[in-house]
């Protein structure tokens, strides 16, 4: 009897100790530097955006938050490297591609978004604007669609490569507007811009911050923006959704998200989500993001999960159509 009692006490003590240790670890986390993998080079837009978040995050967590740049394969290598990192201390800040379209476009990403990635928070979104050269005959979206309808491939557009956001957005638009446009892939937005200004190609979907200065200089016209609300950086550019016969829910946005490997402690994800959400509510951070052309987002991990599912479906349909061609 006494023996049993002693064993029970021992088991109970051990149980409490383990429980306490578990609670303590969640409370004490982080006890060492945190690594945030970014799939683009230092100084690139996704990198600068990540650093706007990791700097305040580091102050809030009381541990250094180190950005690790692992560029390659459109951000896929960054996600792969994050998954290979230390549990609870390895995270990622990524653009939408590796979570939505890359599994379809890259031969072998070696990860399954649904099974291997735990969403943390949506950081920021950006629409694209449809830009044409200043001497393009149409001045609005309806005119552009009419010009494109004249005959198949009457209007050409530049993108930054097969399967890029600019390419998929243009194809989503073409499908919604019932037109067929000629796709001309380039290596960078700089080349697309040069080619539109030089009059070699007609149009392109590009970041508002890239088109705006050219529009102000009278070299380009912005015909529409792909977000459902007007975008603060280019408030005068009309929303495409519901305009010129496009569906009211027409939306194509680029975004950046904070993610974790699927095995991460839920308490850690909750803590990170709360901290990041507060950082994104800081007007100074919001303003810095807008300077770079990004609208601060936020929300729960579930919101991000929903966004990933929705976009994977939308872009999946577009990719199906491109592949069927």
């Amino acid at each position: 009897m006494i023996r049993i009692h002693r064993q029970a006490t021992l088991a109970l003590t051990a149980g409490i100790a383990i429980l306490a240790a578990g609670m303590a670890s969640a409370q004490e986390w982080p006890t060492e530097p945190i690594h945030v993998y970014v799939g683009f080079p230092a100084g690139s837009s996704p990198d600068t955006l990540a650093r706007l978040i990791t700097d305040p995050l580091s102050q809030r967590l009381g541990q250094p938050v180190v950005v690790e740049n692992k560029p390659g394969a459109g951000g896929v290598i960054g996600v792969q490297q994050m998954l290979a990192g230390k549990e609870n201390y390895s995270f990622g800040s990524t653009i939408n591609g590796p979570l939505t379209t890359s599994p379809r476009l890259v031969p072998d990403t070696s990860y399954d978004v649904a099974a291997d990635i735990a969403p943390v928070a949506l950081l920021a979104t950006s629409p694209l604007v449809l830009a044409v050269s200043a001497d393009f005959p149409a001045d609005d979206l309806a005119g552009f669609i009419a010009a494109a309808k004249a005959e198949p491939e009457a209007v050409s557009y530049g993108s930054v490569g097969q399967g890029s956001g600019a390419h998929l957005t243009a194809e989503l638009f073409a499908d919604a507007a019932g037109v067929q446009m000629l796709h001309i892939p380039f290596a960078s937005y700089a080349e697309v811009t040069t080619s539109i200004i030089g009059g070699e190609i007609n149009s392109g979907f590009m970041a508002p911050s890239a088109a705006m200065p050219q529009a102000e200089a009278g070299k380009m016209k912005m015909l529409g923006v792909t977000s459902t609300e007007p975008f603060a950086q280019v408030p005068d550019v009309p929303v495409m959704a519901g305009n010129a016969g496009l569906p009211a829910d027409f939306r194509a946005e680029l975004w950046n998200a904070f993610i974790a490997p699927a095995g991460t402690d839920p308490a850690v994800i909750e803590r990170l989500n709360a901290e990041i959400d507060e950082i994104l509510k800081d007007p100074k951070v919001q303003q810095q993001l807008m300077t770079m052309g990004w609208q601060a987002a936020g929300g729960t991990p579930d919101d991000l999960a929903q966004r990933i599912t929705d976009d994977t479906q939308v872009w999946g349909t577009v990719i199906d159509k491109i592949e069927a061609k």
Binding site: A42, N69, S156, G161, G198, M212, P213, E216
Partner: protein, 501 residues
């Protein structure tokens, strides 16, 4: 603001201590990273970027610019002394700079490279001030067909560099073209020659290729013959000073190289690597004694070095006048401005004239500093050659690995540089010229994408290459060049046939 007013304003900005100090910092840092093999302006500038958030946009741009063109000076040093290009742009400089060093003329080669770099930069600055409008209009008028035709001309003109049999030269160019195909095809999204490796989807790393083919291969090659050639016992001033004859031979190549560099630098997406290759090819083509090339011709050092420095300056033309970055490094610099709330674009000049002129004047000050800094260093660089192999080469390998890793933080690239180095050694044993491989690698993807783009835009009509005047001009020159070579071959064959028959 008039040009002269602008220049005066520029002096006021650039000479202000808070800007000048960053100019000095930039060019010194640029020289250092240029000398170190593999570590390029890209890595340095991206590391410096976070610092620029805390200084004025003028100082930021002046410092980053200093790193950018400063690296062009340093790049030649290891090319000449060790056949180890500090940057891919200076790979061409190894072709004649290294033979000069082996002949005991390392000091002269370095002097030639520094002087021509300086002259190239000054001409670049003059072009930036007075011709930027014209250069910018060329940049937007150049279409895909024009790029494709121009690059084909470049490939044809340059594939004769290096003294070797035409079949070997051809093999190297083709191998370079094949290696250039590795990665995701922009047009179809298909992955080519990647063997299922995600790391290869963006292609082979140019820095890994250049460091492997030249640096690592050279290190392996030198393990065999430990006897070093051309190392002076004592370095005295006389060995550094070029003869009157050297100066005479340098002058025209430097001027021609500068002109080529000014032109190619301003074209977005072409870059200074191409301008130095083309300058070398031009000099060899028009030389009275082309057989000197590859055996220590000073023209082969002066031309390309002037070209890549001029290109580094005029690369700012599309960046500053159109707000369109010509290469990824320029994109980083524009990123630095965005952080400061300056929107890059065609209106940037009007909105921020102080910044533009301050930058232009800082180029002049920076290049003068570089010359003053580098000329006395020549003696020190040359004496580096006296460091025993067993110390120097392990250090070089470490720097190569660091440099390659710094490009994109990839251990795969370090493995790649080892494999490429081994292959490069075998190629050197068989007397193939790695510079041609690099040429094919750099030009191949540009030719391919522009050719396909031109055909897409013309809706499949190949006549576009003859209808556009710029493209038609390049096609005509290419055809003449090929006909000329064929005529030469035919004449020689006839001459050889005459005595017997």
């Amino acid at each position: 603001m008039g040009t002269w007013d602008g220049i005066l304003t520029g002096f006021a900005v650039a000479l202000h201590p808070s800007v000048l100090i960053y100019c000095v910092l930039g060019v010194v840092l640029g020289t250092v990273i240029g000398v170190l093999p593999g570590i390029g302006a890209m890595a340095a500038i991206s590391l410096l970027l976070p610092i620029t958030f805390y200084i004025s946009p003028e100082a930021a741009l002046v410092m980053l610019g200093g790193v950018y063109y400063g690296a062009q000076y340093g790049g030649a040093v290891a090319s000449i002394l060790l056949r180890l290009p500090g940057t891919p742009q200076s790979a061409v400089t190894t072709l004649d700079g290294y033979p000069m060093a082996q002949q005991g003329r390392a000091g002269v080669a370095l002097f030639a490279s520094m002087m021509s770099s300086f002259v190239g930069s000054v001409i670049g600055i003059v072009a930036l001030v007075w011709l930027s409008g014209w250069l910018a209009s060329i940049a937007t008028e150049f279409g895909a067909a024009d790029y494709a035709a121009m690059m084909v001309l470049g490939l044809v003109a340059a594939s004769t560099i290096g003294s070797q049999r035409p079949a070997k030269a051809f093999a190297m160019v083709v191998l370079g073209l094949i290696l250039g195909c590795v990665g995701t095809d922009v047009n179809s999204g298909a992955s080519r020659l990647t063997f299922g490796r995600t790391e290869l989807l963006d292609g082979i790393n140019l820095v890994a290729l250049a460091m492997g083919l030249f640096g690592v291969a050279e290190v392996i090659g030198n393990i065999r013959d430990a006897e070093r050639k051309g190392v002076p016992e004592h370095v005295n001033l006389r060995q550094l000073i070029p003869t009157r004859e050297d100066l005479r031979r340098m002058t025209l190549p430097t001027l021609r190289g500068s002109a080529l560099g000014c032109f190619f630098g301003a074209l977005p997406g072409t870059g200074s690597t191409i301008s130095s290759f083309l300058s070398y090819a031009t000099e060899r083509r028009i030389a009275r004694q082309p057989e000197h090339f590859g055996n220590g011709a000073i023209e082969g050092v002066a031309g390309p070095e002037a070209a890549n420095n001029a290109a580094a300056i005029t690369a700012f033309v599309p960046t500053l006048t159109l707000g369109i970055p010509g290469d990824p490094i320029m994109a980083l610099m524009l990123g630095a401005l965005v952080i400061h709330g300056i929107q890059p674009g065609p209106m940037m000049l009007d909105a921020h004239p102080d910044m533009f002129w301050g930058l232009v004047v800082s180029f002049g000050i920076g290049n003068l500093l570089l010359l003053i800094l580098n000329l006395p260093l020549i003696g020190i660089w040359v004496s580096l050659l006296r460091i025993p192999f067993r110390w120097l080469y392990p250090a070089i390998i470490v720097f190569v690995c660091l440099g390659v890793y710094s490009v994109r933080g990839s251990t795969f690239d370090i493995a790649a540089v080892a494999v490429i180095g081994a292959a490069g050694y075998l190629l050197a044993l068989a007397r193939f010229n790695p510079a041609l491989l690099l040429l094919g690698f750099v030009l191949g993807p540009l030719i391919e994408t522009n050719l396909r783009r031109a055909m897409l835009i013309s809706r499949g009509d190949p006549m576009v290459f003859l209808e556009r005047p710029i493209s038609a001009f390049f096609v005509a020159v290419t055809v003449l060049l090929i006909l000329g070579s064929l005529l030469g071959v035919w004449r020689r064959a006839k001459k050889a046939a005459t005595p017997t028959g």
